[in-house]
Symmetry: C2
Subunit: 145 residues, 2 copies
DNA sequence: CGATTTTATATTTCAAGCAACATAATTGCA
DNA sequence: TGCAATTATGTTGCTTGAAATATAAAATCG
């Protein structure tokens, strides 16, 4: 770390941004086989875990707003991965349910996190520790002031 | 880390992605004062360090391709932060030079990395270690296979 | 009960990212 | 030398992200 010459490489923000995109690039060929984009894969991670969700909940879990989610979920609906419907109780709420077609992708997607584990060159325990550190940092950044 | 129930939170790729965006959000009001977007700020980090660069070099340093850089650099040129010109030696090469206006932003931007350091709740030494870990992970991911 | 506020989602607009393709300059080699 | 391959950048089309704004349903309160 060079204190005098503050290069790109010494900026944690850039490392996080660049590393995140490097993982996207590694995932892309795997996701292409499933006809998914990376954010769509994240939505499915949620739905594989809990069958259904609302836009509000997805927005909170993924920290994406409706301007991102609404068109993305419409695309996913049109490719048959999920169904969107207004809640009967409260018509403001849009419920998103995974379909059989969406559920079928779960087993085919298992290789995706596995590929990161493999290519990382790190042990599971180290990856878990790194994950914890990053989540703690994210919480600090979000809750600051 | 739940092995049975592989939730979003346990995915390192998501933590990196979400943390990166959390930092963008924290930086946004600071960058707004400079009329910069985050990727534009990254370009300036390079140019503050080395006065000029080429699209090829910026592409390599930032891992962004010409489809992203060309329009972004044109916007930065039209806001007076830099000048683009074809190299005389090799007309394929576009050289990007920082202007006085671009250079003036350097001191005003010092608060930006400082704000991350402050809000992170971590010591400089820990941040440096985390940066190193992430860069190593990125290298592994990029060089795998 | 009716007006106001809040909540949930949608729309619009702009700026990335990136793949695929296009173009023009330069290199290299038969 | 001449032409094919390579290199550097640009363009197009599609998908995020996110702010600002709009809309409609539900909750709240006098």
């Amino acid at each position: 770390m060079d204190q005098e010459r503050l290069t790109l490489d010494s900026h944690l923000c850039f490392s996080l941004y660049a590393c995140s995109r490097a993982i996207f690039r590694m995932y892309r060929p795997l996701l292409d086989e499933l006809n998914l984009t990376y954010p769509q894969y994240l939505v499915l991670l949620v739905l594989w875990d809990r069958q259904e969700s609302s836009i509000k909940e997805l927005s909170h879990l993924l920290t994406l707003d409706s301007g991102t989610l609404t068109p993305m979920l419409k695309r996913m609906e049109s490719s048959g991965l999920l169904v969107r419907s207004r809640s009967v109780d409260d018509e403001r709420i849009v419920t998103v349910q995974i379909t059989d077609k969406g559920r079928e992708l779960q087993s085919r997607a298992e290789c995706i996190p596995a590929s990161l584990i493999e290519s990382s060159g790190l042990e599971l325990q180290q990856l878990g520790a790194l994950n914890e550190t990053i989540r703690t940092l994210m919480d600090s950044v979000e809750n600051h002031r």
